[in-house]
Structure formats: structure tokens, C-alpha cells
């Protein structure tokens, strides 16, 4: 029983982290209908920015967010203007080619700047754990999970309680209608893409206290984000959380009871079942 509860607990924590990876992806996909395959690489950018700031200034990765957030926002605006805006109304194949091209370029720049070997950050709480009733929860993991929940809540509030959020949802539902109502669609999309990049970089920096970074991790991250979006529903922040938790819990429990190798198979079985039952996801249409 302890094994099950430990697996479940770890799974919930990791699930929040996966949701964090996926929020920016689902936002961009749901609002702009753009599949950004480079999203995982944006997460890796956040990781490496945190690594750079840590090794240069010895700042904790959470403190490095003061630099990571504005940097990723600016980066997102530039990418939107140069790459996303021209392809936004093009067929899906254009999205795929352009964003995979961006993934390769960014990955190679990271490799040139930081080298190809794996990098980590070791802070005072990297291997510390909180023990509750015999169940151990890594402090670093808890911090990342807690941050993720705060970001999910803030993102929900932004989308549902602010004028900008209303504009985003209007554009997601009906672009022409939004134009007609005076919404500056292009500016809205630009800011949304910038926010998506911030969320990606934010999540990358937040996991550095316990994760191992490599320039080529981006594709694995975006595939997981894709699965989460399919389960949770395109454009739904709440859906990203639910999708992330499902993936995290399945992975945690199956790894603990059987093996991590079977956990991957279990995840894809769930994906297939989801596609059969509800292909739009749990919270479809809730941008």
C-alpha cells in the first residue's frame, strides 16, 4: 500500500509539472490554432537560462525568473513576428515545418552556447524531502508543483476575468467576430504567443532544482504536452492540469508497481481510450 501511495503522491507532483509544461502549448494551440513543435525547446531555453544565471550569479532558479520571464516574453514576440504570424493562416503542414525548423535552430544554438552534455543545478534543497506518514515528497518537486498550480490559477483568472482574456477567447471562438467587435486580433495573438513562451520558459526554470537538462530534450517535452492537450482539451488551462495529473499519476503508479517501461505503454493506452471516448478532450472548447 505504501508503494501505491508513494507512487500516487509522486505522480501528482510530477503531473503538476507536466501540466506546467503544457499550459503554454495549449494556450497557443487553442487560441491561434498553431501547433508549436518548438514549445518543448522553449521549455529547454528556460532551463538553460536558469542554468546560466545560476552558474554566473549563483541565483536560485526561482530567483532567475526575474530575468527568464521578460526574456522569454521578448523572445516570444520576436518569434511571433518573424515566424508565427506569416504561417498562422497557412495549412497545418506549414506550421509543422516552420516550428520544427525553429526547434532545430534553437536546439543547435543552445548546443553551441552550452555544449551538448547534460547539465544540472544543485541547490541546497535539490535532494531534500518532506516526510509525511512515511511518504517522502521532494522539496524541489513540491516547489515546482506548487508554482504550477499558482500559474494554472492565474492563467485561468487572466483568461476569464480580464479584458485581455475575453479578447483571447473571442479570437479563439471567432476571429472575424472579434475583429468586428474592435478586438486587435494581431496584437492579441502576439501577446498570447509571448505569454505561451513565458509559460514554457517559466516551467523550464522551475524544474531545474531537480531536473537534468539537455539541448535535445525539447521534442520529448512537446510530445508529452501534446498528449496532455489531447486528454485535457485544446486551449483549456484546466484541461492541461487534468491531463497532466492523469499522466503523472499513471506514470507514478505504474512505475512504482511494475516498471517505468510499462508506464509509457499505459500512457498511450489511455491516450487511445481518450481518443475513442472523447477525441476533443475533457474540457474541449473552453479556451
Amino acid at each position: 500500500m505504501t508503494v501505491f501511495i508513494q507512487g500516487l503522491t509522486t505522480g501528482i507532483l510530477m503531473g503538476c509539472v507536466y501540466a506546467f509544461f503544457a499550459i503554454g502549448f495549449t494556450l497557443v494551440l487553442g487560441v491561434m490554432k498553431v501547433v508549436n513543435f518548438a514549445h518543448g525547446t522553449f521549455v529547454v531555453m528556460g532551463m538553460y537560462l536558469a542554468i546560466f544565471i545560476f552558474t554566473t550569479y549563483l541565483w536560485d532558479p526561482f530567483l532567475s525568473l526575474l530575468i527568464v520571464i521578460p526574456s522569454m516574453f521578448a523572445f516570444g514576440l520576436v518569434v511571433y513576428h518573424l515566424i508565427i504570424r506569416p504561417i498562422r493562416e497557412q495549412p497545418l503542414s506549414a506550421h509543422v515545418i516552420a516550428t520544427i525548423g525553429l526547434l532545430v535552430i534553437v536546439e543547435n544554438i543552445i548546443t553551441l552556447m552550452f555544449g551538448s552534455q547534460y547539465r544540472t543545478v544543485t541547490v541546497s534543497y535539490t535532494t531534500s524531502a518532506l516526510v509525511v506518514g512515511g511518504i517522502r515528497m521532494g522539496i524541489a518537486r513540491m516547489l515546482a508543483a506548487g508554482t504550477s498550480l499558482c500559474v494554472v490559477a492565474l492563467s485561468y483568472l487572466l483568461l476569464h476575468r480580464t479584458d485581455f482574456g475575453r479578447a483571447v477567447r473571442a479570437c479563439a471562438d471567432d476571429i472575424e467576430g472579434a475583429w468586428g467587435l474592435g478586438v486587435d486580433v494581431n496584437r492579441t495573438f502576439m501577446v498570447a504567443f509571448g505569454l505561451g513562451s513565458v509559460l514554457a520558459g517559466f516551467s523550464g526554470a522551475a524544474v531545474m532544482p531537480f531536473a537534468v537538462a539537455s539541448p535535445s530534450s525539447g521534442l520529448d517535452i512537446v510530445i508529452k504536452a501534446f498528449v496532455i492537450v489531447i486528454i485535457g482539451g485544446m486551449g483549456s488551462v484546466g484541461g492541461a492540469l487534468v491531463g497532466g495529473l492523469i499522466i503523472g499519476m499513471v506514470e507514478g503508479i505504474v512505475s512504482a508497481l511494475w516498471s517505468p517501461a510499462i508506464a509509457i505503454a499505459a500512457l498511450f493506452m489511455i491516450l487511445i481510450i481518450m481518443l475513442m471516448i472523447s477525441p476533443e478532450g475533457f474540457f474541449a472548447g473552453e479556451a
Binding site: V3, Y118, R136, S216, D220, A256, P260
Partner: protein
């Protein structure tokens, strides 16, 4: 009777022939390839400089540069009239299919030999290309028995393979149990799902059982596994008191961090080459890397002439510590140089025969590990010993076998709460 053209004509004819042949020789064209010494000897290097293999590949590439530049600075290959070594590296990005296409490109470029690969999957595909093309492939570090188990006459391996490394690890566990009275009673095996892991796993399972240990968990995990808390929790709950690993560098780092996070304190843990012998492992984990055991093919405390200077030179040039990957590259280059001396040509078949008949000892062209290199009929080095080391204060110390080891193992290893 018609008079002959006479001596003047003969002299002109002979002169023209001499000029013609001289001209051909100047252009480097010979009727039989390999008969004249080449001005350069081309060497292909197929390594992983990005992806999971980069932790080993980067080191290997450093050593190729150091060693070949040194050969050239010292006058080149003496048996080939001072021919310089022209080397070319290609990154297979930790993907076996790219390793194969790299090998094809290097062979088209004119490589007389291909060195590789620092991952078994890549070595399997690259060596296959070399076998087809009739160019020798020298594997420096990969443990999959199938690399030399396919009957490929063009494939050679200088390092011990899994079936030589694993028995060392399992025998070490038995030896330590006898010497200290603390014997593992419940053993687990964690294996990464790569060609390396897949090939070593059955050998390890057999080795553990042959030594009479109780293997209670045999767990495999995917290459990009990001979290081991569930696995370690399972080992704790099942009372596993010794863990055997077959893993790459990022996994080994994550595993030890998780051991500490979960306060998991086995008697010990041992790997088979893998991430434990890389300086990335030691630098990233710091003191947490201490007490790690690994069955490998080199440690810096072996008494080998010239090794200290080589290690110093490496550190000066690259700012990194020389590790076991670097040692395996030096060993492979030593074999190649010795073979060139005997073949006196880069003609592929003659060179292959020379490599196949290699029988060199410790120290020959800087060969760094007892007892040197001699290939059996499959191309596997049967002379070199496997060495078990333990990391202490960031240093790899040889602790087994008794005749070679420079230090005594700390067994059982200290619990996390006991370490400073």
C-alpha cells in the same frame, strides 16, 4: 638489311620511360594501391557529440585530437615515411541510423579505419557499414556482445565487453561479502532501454544468479526517464539491499539524487561502465557520487608509465579530467599505430590482417590497461582485464581484482545520514 635505329634512339626511349614513370610517381599514382607511402593517413571518427552519448563522445573526441595531434607533431607514422594523420569526426547525435550514414561518408572521404562509437546501438550500425565496405572498424568502449558476435571480420573491439565486465562486478560482490561478512541478500537490477542496456541485462542477470545472489527486482526503464522516485520506493519497500545498474550518465545522476531524496541506503550499488565513470557524474553529484562502484576498464590510479603526463596534458588542453573513455581511445589508437607499423600500408585487407594479429602489452604506444590487447577470432580483445572502482572524494579508485587494485573498498557504503 635495314639498319637499326641505334643507341641514340634507345637512349631517348629509356629516358622517356624514366621521365614518364617519375611523373606518375610524383602524381602519387601507382599501379598497385598502398605500395607507396601516403602523405597522409585518413582516420574516421564516428562519435556522439550530442544527445545521451555526448558525455562519453565529447571525451573521446578530445582524446582523438590530443593523440593524433601528438603523433603528427612527433613526425607522423614512421613506418609510412612520416605520413601525417588526417582525422575527421562526425557526430551521430546519439542516433544509430546517423552513425551508419556517418560511417558511409567517412569511408567515401577515404578513411583507412573508422573509430567509434560510445554507444552500442551506434556501434552495431556503423560496424555493419564498415563490414560491407571492407574497412576496419575499431570499437573503443561499447559493451554489447553482438558487436563482435556477428562473425564480422572487419570489426574489432579493444575494450572488454559485457560478458567480461559483468562477471567482475558479480565476483566483486561475492568477494566483498566474504572479506567483510556483509553479503547482499536481496539484489535489484535497473537497466536502461538502449542497445547497451538490452545487451548487458541478460549477462548481468546470469552473473548475479551464478554467484548465488537473490535477484528480487529486474526493472527496465526508458532512455528519457525523468523520475525514479517510484522505482526507488519500490526497492526500499521490497528490502533490496544491493542495486546493480546498467545506465547512462543522466540516469545515473538522477538515480543517485533520488537515492538521497528517498533516503535509500543499500549496502552498495554497482554499474557496468555507463555514467559512473564520466567526470560529468562526479562533477554534478559532488560528494554524493562517493561510494559508487562500477565495473570498468580503467582507473587513474593504475601504475602505467607516461599516464600521469598524459592526464596533465589532457587537463591543460581541455580543462577536464581524463577518464575511462579517454583511456579506451588511447588504447584503440595504440592498436592502430602498432598495426600500421606491421602492415606498412593502409591497404584495407593488409591493414585488417595486421589489426587482427595484434598482440601488444601494457605501455605499447601508451596502452593504458593491463594486460594489453590481443584479438580472438571474433575481433574481441581477450587480454584486457575489467577493473572495479569505487569513487571516493571525487576520485576513481581501483578496488578489484586484488592483484591490480590500489585501494580497499568501503563496504557497506555509508548511509546518507552518516555522510558529511
Amino acid at each position: 638489311m635495314e639498319k637499326g635505329r641505334g643507341w641514340p634512339a634507345a637512349a631517348i626511349g629509356i629516358s622517356l620511360i624514366i621521365i614518364f614513370l617519375g611523373g606518375i610517381a610524383l602524381l602519387g599514382i601507382t599501379p598497385i594501391p598502398g605500395l607507396t607511402a601516403p602523405a597522409t593517413v585518413k582516420v574516421g571518427i564516428d562519435v556522439g557529440l550530442t544527445g545521451f552519448a555526448a558525455a562519453w563522445g565529447k571525451h573521446a573526441w578530445n582524446t582523438y585530437q590530443l593523440a593524433f595531434d601528438k603523433v603528427n607533431a612527433e613526425g607522423g607514422i614512421k613506418s609510412l615515411a612520416g605520413a601525417k594523420i588526417e582525422y575527421k569526426v562526425m557526430d551521430y547525435e546519439s542516433k544509430p541510423d546517423i552513425a551508419a550514414s556517418n560511417a558511409e561518408k567517412l569511408i567515401s572521404w577515404g578513411a583507412s579505419v573508422i573509430f567509434g562509437c560510445n554507444s552500442s546501438g551506434a556501434a552495431m550500425t556503423a560496424s555493419q557499414v564498415c563490414q560491407r565496405a571492407g574497412i576496419s572498424f575499431i570499437d573503443t568502449t561499447d559493451a554489447d556482445p553482438m558487436i563482435t558476435g556477428r562473425g564480422f571480420k572487419w570489426v574489432f573491439r579493444t575494450c572488454p565487453m559485457a560478458s567480461q565486465l559483468v562477471p567482475s562486478a558479480a565476483e566483486f560482490m561475492t568477494y566483498q561479502g566474504k572479506v567483510t561478512g556483509v553479503k547482499p541478500t536481496r539484489v535489484a537490477l535497473l537497466t536502461v532501454e538502449q542497445a547497451f542496456g538490452a545487451s548487458v541485462r541478460p549477462v548481468f542477470v546470469e552473473g548475479i544468479k551464478r554467484e548465488g545472489f537473490n535477484l528480487v527486482e529486474d526493472i527496465t526503464y526508458p532512455t528519457d526517464q525523468k523520475d525514479f522516485t517510484g522505482v526507488i520506493n519500490k526497492l526500499k519497500t521490497r528490502g533490496v539491499d544491493f542495486v546493480c545498474f546498467v545506465c547512462s550518465t543522466p540516469d545515473s545522476i538522477l538515480l543517485i539524487r533520488t537515492f538521497k531524496e528517498m533516503d535509500y541506503n543499500p549496502i552498495g550499488h554497482i554499474g557496468i561502465i555507463g555514467g559512473q565513470y564520466t567526470d560529468d557524474y562526479v562533477k554534478t553529484l559532488g560528494k554524493d557520487a562517493d561510494y559508487t562502484f562500477d565495473s570498468c576498464f580503467w582507473t587513474p590510479d593504475l601504475k602505467v608509465s607516461g599516464m600521469a603526463d598524459l592526464m596533465k596534458e589532457y587537463r591543460t588542453r581541455f580543462g577536464l579530467d581524463f577518464d575511462a573513455t579517454d583511456a579506451t581511445v588511447i588504447n584503440s589508437i595504440a592498436v592502430y599505430r602498432d598495426a600500421l607499423d606491421r602492415a606498412k600500408t593502409t591497404e584495407p585487407e593488409k591493414l585488417r590482417e595486421a589489426i587482427a594479429s595484434t598482440d601488444i602489452g601494457l605501455g605499447r604506444y601508451g596502452y593504458l590497461v593491463p594486460d594489453g590487447c590481443k584479438f580472438d577470432a571474433t575481433g574481441q580483445n581477450i587480454k584486457q582485464k575489467a577493473i572495479v572502482f569505487q569513487i571516493m572524494d571525487g576520485k576513481w579508485l581501483s578496488v578489484y581484482p586484488p592483484g591490480v587494485a590500489a585501494s580497499k573498498a568501503v563496504w557497506p557504503i555509508l548511509k546518507w545520514s552518516q555522510r558529511k
